[in-house]
């Protein structure tokens, strides 16, 4: 009986001490904010397009950091963004939900524009300029290609056009040798 008392007491006391130590530690190492979601946000393309199902890049970053969303929802970011988020999160990469598309920018057919300013309000990055009853113009250098302006336009005068390929932005593709190509294929199939 006495034995049992010692056992209970010592174990209880020991657990109490451990509990106190941990309680103190949790105060000392308390974390403000979520630095992880900042890091994820920095990887996102900031198109604010909402294709991930969240109302912008920051909310998606928060969701990923909180473990509520998968890493593969960012369509405009493409495979590279998915890989770097997966890498940061330390999870297995997943195939993208949708095919990667060519980069596009919005273009307003000015002769059809009625100057309603609806697209200006819809643009998440203020890339469309113009005043009421005036033609609106898309600043191509600022446009993220999020297509959020297409839907509100009452006369459907906005097109998505391919971003022109610039000589300065040209870069060497992988070599044409079998080994290099196989490597690229392997990398792609790896995520399926």
């Amino acid at each position: 009986m006495e034995q049992l008392l010692y056992a209970t007491l010592s174990l209880g006391a020991f657990a109490l001490i451990a509990g106190i130590v941990l309680a103190i530690a949790s105060k000392v190492f308390h974390i403000e904010g979520d630095p992880l979601s900042d890091k994820i946000d920095a990887l996102l393309p900031q198109t604010q397009c909402g294709q991930c199902g969240f109302p912008g890049c920051r909310p998606y970053a928060n969701a990923v950091a909180g473990g509520e969303a998968d890493v593969n929802h960012c369509v405009p970011g493409g495979e590279r963004t998915m890989l770097s988020i997966a890498d940061l999160m330390g999870v297995e990469p997943k195939a993208l939900e949708e095919e990667e598309s060519v980069p596009v920018v919005a273009f307003v057919r000015e002769d059809e524009c009625i100057g309603c300013t609806l697209c200006i309000k819809a643009c998440p990055v203020d890339a469309i300029i113009g005043a009421p009853k005036q033609y609106h113009t898309v600043v191509a250098d600022h446009c993220t290609g999020c297509v959020l302006c297409l839907e509100p336009c009452p006369v459907d005068c906005i097109d998505m056009i391919q971003k022109p390929e610039l000589l300065e932005h040209w870069s060497w593709p992988l070599p044409d040798t079998e080994r290099a190509q196989l490597g690229a294929e392997r990398r792609e199939s790896h995520h399926d």
Partner: protein, 196 residues
């Protein structure tokens, strides 16, 4: 001189000859789990070093001053696990604060140090071998260094294998285990180096 000699023998034995991972096959789970990247492997190594050294000293103290005097040896495992769990919780909070990325990288394996059999193994073996306070601390540290050494080496090998055209049948854990096996065979070369 002889004390230093003895310490050296203990260290060498724990690090190389009786390496926990490659010759005792303890702690295989984190060895395979967090060796994907050298960076995380190094982080894990430090975490394990911290936990193992402290756990072996703390468990020695508990054994010597609580369990034996109170004749509670049958509570040994529970006590040791309590110690380890507390230490792991502590280091988990610390890493989360200091390096969130490492925290993410270690993922589930960080709390799992609690169930890392190598840590409990060190604590139990210390008691079995009737080590003194100093030697158990040293033994715990040595075992952790041995664990860290092979973990980091192994992570290097795995990083190198990342881009290799490994046959489909051997991809993933198959080739990883073969490599671990090969390393274990190579470590057999150290056998007999220290007579313990």
């Amino acid at each position: 001189m002889s004390a230093i000699n003895e310490f050296g023998v203990i260290l060498l034995s724990a690090v190389l000859v009786n390496n926990y991972v490659l010759t005792k096959f303890l702690g295989i789970c984190p060895f395979l789990g967090v060796s994907g990247k050298t960076e995380t492997a190094i982080g894990m190594s430090f975490a394990v070093m911290f936990v193992m050294t402290l756990a072996s000293t703390a468990s020695w103290l508990v054994q010597e001053y609580i369990l034996i005097p109170l004749d509670l040896l049958y509570l040994q495992t529970i006590f040791f696990i309590l110690i380890i769990a507390t230490l792991v919780q502590f280091i988990e909070m610390m890493i989360h604060k200091v390096s969130p990325v490492l925290y993410q990288g270690l993922g589930i394996y960080l709390p799992l140090i609690t169930t890392n059999c190598a840590v409990l193994g060190v604590a139990l073996l210390n008691v079995q071998q009737e080590n003194t306070f100093m030697t158990s601390a040293l033994y715990g540290f040595g075992a952790a260094v041995g664990f860290a050494l092979v973990l980091v080496l192994f992570s290097g090998l795995r990083e190198r294998m990342e881009g290799a055209p490994i046959p489909d049948a051997f991809k993933g854990s198959a080739v990883t285990l073969i490599t671990a096996g090969m390393m274990s065979l190579a470590f057999l070369g150290f056998s007999g180096l220290v007579k313990v």
